[in-house]
Symmetry: C2
Subunit: 198 residues, 2 copies
C-alpha cells in the first residue's frame, strides 16, 4: 500500500507554519463542520496567506485529510476497488480495507485516529467531513444510484466492524481471517451498494 500513504514528515523550511495551519484546520473543521469552513478562515487563524495553505496542502479536501492525520489516503486505497465498477465492488473494497487495517503498524495508528474522532470534538469531522470528502466521491466514482444513502449504509457496517474487530477486539471477530471477513461482509456491503432499498 506504500503508494497510498499520505506523505509524512516535515517539508524543509516551514515546519511551524505547516503545524499552525494544521492546528487551525482541525479546530475549524471540528467547530464549524467541513462545508462551512473556508481555507481563507483557516489561513487567517494560522496568520498566513491562503495561497500558502494551497501551496502546502492543495485543495480543501486534501487539507481536511491532512488534518485527520490518517496514515493512508482512503481515496487512494479504494481506487483499485472502484475501478471495476459496482459489480463485485464490495469484495474489492473489503480487501482494500483489510490490506490497511490488518497491517499491524497502520492498525495502531488508525485505531488512534478512530478514537480521536469519537471524542465529541471530532464527531463533526466524521459526520460532515468524511461523507463529502471520502464516501461521496467513492460512491460517485463507482457509478451507483443514490450514493448519498448507499455510502452511509456501507459506513454503518464498516464502522461497526472497525469498532468490534480493531478498537475493542471482540472475539471471534478480532481473530477472523481476512478471507472470512470478506466472505461474511461482502454480501452485506454489496447489497448496500447495488441491492434494492426502500
Amino acid at each position: 500500500m506504500s503508494e497510498a500513504r499520505v506523505p509524512r514528515g516535515r517539508r524543509p523550511g516551514a515546519p511551524d507554519t505547516k503545524a499552525a495551519i494544521l492546528t487551525a484546520a482541525r479546530r475549524r473543521f471540528a467547530a464549524s463542520g467541513f462545508a462551512r469552513t473556508s481555507v481563507r478562515s483557516i489561513a487567517a487563524d494560522a496568520g498566513v496567506d491562503p495561497a500558502l495553505v494551497h501551496h502546502y496542502f492543495g485543495t480543501k479536501d486534501e487539507l481536511f485529510l491532512a488534518a485527520l492525520e490518517l496514515p493512508v489516503d482512503p481515496r487512494k486505497v479504494l481506487l483499485p476497488a472502484i475501478a471495476g465498477g459496482p459489480e463485485g465492488a464490495a469484495e474489492r473494497m473489503l480487501r482494500a480495507f483489510l490490506s490497511v487495517w490488518d497491517d499491524p503498524e497502520l492498525q495502531v495508528r488508525l485505531v488512534g485516529v478512530f478514537r480521536g474522532i469519537l471524542d465529541s470534538d471530532g464527531e463533526r469531522l466524521l459526520r460532515e467531513g468524511f461523507l463529502p470528502v471520502v464516501l461521496g466521491p467513492v460512491g460517485e466514482a463507482l457509478g451507483i444510484d443514490r450514493p448519498e444513502l448507499r455510502m452511509p449504509l456501507v459506513a454503518s457496517q464498516v464502522v461497526g466492524l472497525i469498532l468490534l474487530r480493531y478498537v475493542i477486539g471482540m472475539e471471534p471477530l478480532a481473530s477472523l481471517s481476512g478471507d472470512d471477513v470478506v466472505a461474511i461482509y461482502a454480501p452485506t456491503v454489496q447489497r448496500y451498494l447495488t441491492g434494492e432499498l426502500p
Copy 2:
C-alpha cells in the same frame, strides 16, 4: 416498553451501600473483565457481605447490567423478538431495538452509556461482559447454530448503526424512518443469524 425498564431510584434504607457496591462492581468489571470478577471480590471492595450484594442485585449477570446503568434491560426488550424462533427474528429484533433507541428520553441516556463504554476503561465491559450476559443468552434462546460467531456479527452491524444514527447523527441515517431501518437492515441481520457462513 415500561415493563422492560430496569427499576431505578434508591430503595429505602441503604443508598450508600448500594452505590458503593455499584462503584466497586464497575471498577472490577472494567479492570478484570466479566468472567474473572467474582461477586465476593466486589463485596470485599465495597466492604459488605456477598449475601447483601445478591440481596440487592441478584445474580452476577444482574449486577453487571446494573453497573452499566442501562435505562432498559436489553434481555427483556429482546424477549418478544426471541420468542418466535430464528425465522424472521431479525425484523423483530430490529423493531425491539428501535422501540428503545428511537424513544427520545431513552436515546439520550443510551447515548451516554454508549459513550462511557467507548472510554478505554469501559471497553472491557463491552468486549467481555456484553457477550456472555446479553448476546450469548439471546443467541441460545433463539436456537441458532454457532451463536458465538453469529451474535457478534449482529453486534457489528447494530453497533455501527448506533454510532452513525444516534451517537454521531450522520444523515441520512439519522432521519430514516423506523420502517426504512428495518427494511434496510433486517436482511443483513437475518443473514448473520441464519444464513450461510464460512
